[in-house]
């Protein structure tokens, strides 16, 4: 937001955001905190239809073993008419916004938006909605990873975003060919449909590519778990 942006109240120009000193001994001792929670069971809280002016919306809270926490809300607007030239298939667009603290730069945000758009282009039955647009808005409310050393990385929240978009689409009654879910193993995420036989998206940032099949296998296991929780909620 440039300084002379008169449409927002930006406060004094030369103010610098708070910077917290990270000197070693005052930060929380490493081992003490995390291992006692290591055995914590993964817990997922799902609720749908909270945003009234959206066609469908969902809210997902995901707590994994070592108290990493992702709270995400997605709302679906559409299918709604699109101006401009005729399109025989719907056009899907995804926007991502960090509601509270801002960690990721716009580049990363746009990358996952394009990635998610590609995933859901394969899943939403776009032939059924000609001349219309389906706009999906993801609002990241809270996201924390427990060990401070590892800097924020966007892959942690991808599976939860995918799950919450799937639930929002279901809530909006938009036709999808299968429930999409994803599993993530340290720095890779693989999104599956058809019980893991078909991959609709892969995003891997760690370099153990030599055993790609093991990576996909681990993600498939996580995928099946996630899908199970989604189905349980829906039934």
């Amino acid at each position: 937001m440039s300084v002379q942006d008169r449409r927002r109240i930006l406060g004094p120009a030369e103010a610098k955001p708070l910077r917290f000193a990270v000197d070693s001994e005052t930060s929380i001792p490493e081992e003490g905190r995390t291992d006692d929670k290591k055995t914590g069971k993964e817990s997922v809280f799902i609720s749908t239809d909270l945003v009234t002016n959206a066609n469908g919306s969902s809210y997902l809270e995901y707590m994994d073993g070592n108290s990493d926490q992702v709270l995400v809300m997605s709302s679906v607007f559409g299918p709604r008419p699109l101006r401009g030239s005729f399109q025989s298939k719907a056009s899907v667009s995804i926007q991502f916004k960090e509601v509270t603290l801002e960690h990721f730069n716009t580049g990363e945000i746009k990358e996952i938006c394009t990635f998610l758009t590609n995933v859901f282009n394969a899943v939403i039955n776009i032939e059924k909605y000609p001349k219309s647009g389906i706009d999906i808005f993801i609002d990241l409310i809270q996201h924390s990873n427990s060990n401070p050393a590892e800097e924020e990385n966007i892959i942690k929240i991808l599976p939860t975003c995918i799950n919450s978009i799937t639930m929002a689409l279901v809530d909006a009654g938009i036709e999808i060919i299968d429930l999409v879910s994803a599993g993530s193993v340290d720095n890779s995420v693989v999104a599956f449909i058809r019980n893991g036989h078909e991959i609709v998206g892969i995003w891997s940032d760690d370099d153990k590519v030599s055993d790609i099949s093991r990576l996909i296998e681990d993600c498939r296991v996580k995928y099946l778990q996630n899908k199970q929780t989604l189905v349980q909620y829906l039934r």
Partner: protein, 362 residues
């Protein structure tokens, strides 16, 4: 506003109900919690990567507002030679004395309403942010003194062990070290207010959410590295000797923090009301004998919701009062039906109960 919503509105009113099936003077139930978003909230795990210092989630009916407050530090520009010039000091305090507003501070809010569109802020978002900023400034809830940074000093002795000394916690003679540097800083507060499922006027909802977030704000202690406190290095640059002040950013202490001082008695909570006449023709013939048919009866509605009400009510009141009925801010727009003094009194008593109810929930 097409005619049938007005007709539908009148028909509802005549049956003593509202489209949102609440009583005339019944408020939407409100739930408030801090949403575990700020770094100082109880169950927060990511304290060291989280720079939110205050937060609140307010849910009223279907609409809910998430507010997160972040901070910044700005160095105040002091007049260059004010240490010894007592007259100057006096002049400043004198002028501040008369100008009550100069003492108040405010928050810099950004209101965003989730409406399924991407783009710049709409009029409503800009107006609400501006109004929140001004109302908070004039309410005097937040004083400039509450935002003054008491800058500590971080002394790193030989083996790198750092100890932080804050002027108010230490002995007398150490105090003069930190007083010596004449630089003064103050905190700046930014509020990010997100509104979801907007279903009626949102100003009072945002105000209540902002106030409850401010109540949860903790200001982190700030300090400078010791050798930066009084270090000036002469640097020869192309013949001209110039003293540059080592630019060390002021850092915040991840552990220690102080709660933000708010003037408790100035705190007030918002509520909104609307007044509308029931068109006699639309009145169902329930009790036509005792009602003088041609005089339109006007009705007071509390907490306007649904598009029908919002578009058909022109006379609106928006009050911010504290629990014992003192006004903080009142906006009365007499657009359509007449607002009688009794109605205003009724609104005040209603808003008194409302702020008591909200206060109890924070």
């Amino acid at each position: 506003m097409n005619t049938n919503t007005a007709l539908q509105q009148d028909r509802h009113l005549s049956l003593e109900t509202r489209p949102c099936s609440r009583g005339f003077e019944e408020f939407r139930d409100v739930l408030i919690n801090d949403g575990n978003i700020s770094r100082y909230s109880a169950k927060c795990q990511n304290a060291n990567t989280n720079n939110v210092i205050g937060s609140s989630i307010v849910r009223s009916g279907k609409t809910f507002v998430i507010t997160s407050i972040t901070g910044g530090i700005v160095e105040e520009t002091l007049s260059a030679n004010n240490e010894d010039d007592v007259g100057e000091e006096e002049l400043i305090t004198l002028s501040e004395g008369s100008n009550r507003l100069a003492k108040n501070a405010s928050v810099h809010p950004v209101v965003e309403i989730q409406r399924g569109r991407v783009g710049g802020p709409t009029d409503e978002e800009m107006i609400t942010s501006e109004r929140l900023h001004k109302t908070l400034l004039h309410s005097g809830i937040l004083k400039k003194t509450a935002l003054r940074v008491l800058c500590g000093v971080r002394r790193t002795d030989e083996n790198g062990k750092t100890t932080k000394i804050y002027s108010d916690e230490i002995l007398e003679e150490e105090r003069k070290i930190s007083e010596s540097n004449n630089r003064r800083w103050s905190y700046v507060l930014y509020a990010k207010i997100q509104v979801f499922s907007r279903n009626g006027p949102i100003f009072d909802l945002c105000w209540n959410s902002l106030i409850s977030a401010l109540k949860s704000v903790q200001l982190p202690r700030a300090f400078l590295d010791e050798r930066a406190a009084d270090l000036k290095i002469a640097v020869r640059t192309r013949g001209r000797s110039m003293t540059i002040r080592e630019t060390y950013d002021i850092l915040c202490d991840p552990e220690k923090s102080l709660p933000l001082q708010l003037n408790q008695h100035e705190l007030g909570y918002g509520s909104n009301y609307g007044i509308i006449d029931i068109d006699p023709l639309a009145q169902l013939a329930k009790e036509e004998n005792e009602m003088d048919v041609d005089k339109p009866t006007s009705v007071l509605l509390a907490d306007i919701e649904t598009e029908a009400e919002e578009s058909s009510i022109y006379s609106k009141l928006s009050l911010i009062t504290n629990k014992d009925g003192q006004f903080k801010s009142a906006t009365i727009i007499g657009g359509g039906s007449k607002i009688t003094p009794e109605m205003i009194k009724r609104c005040i008593s209603l808003s008194k109960e409302r702020s008591k109810d909200i206060e109890s929930k924070i």
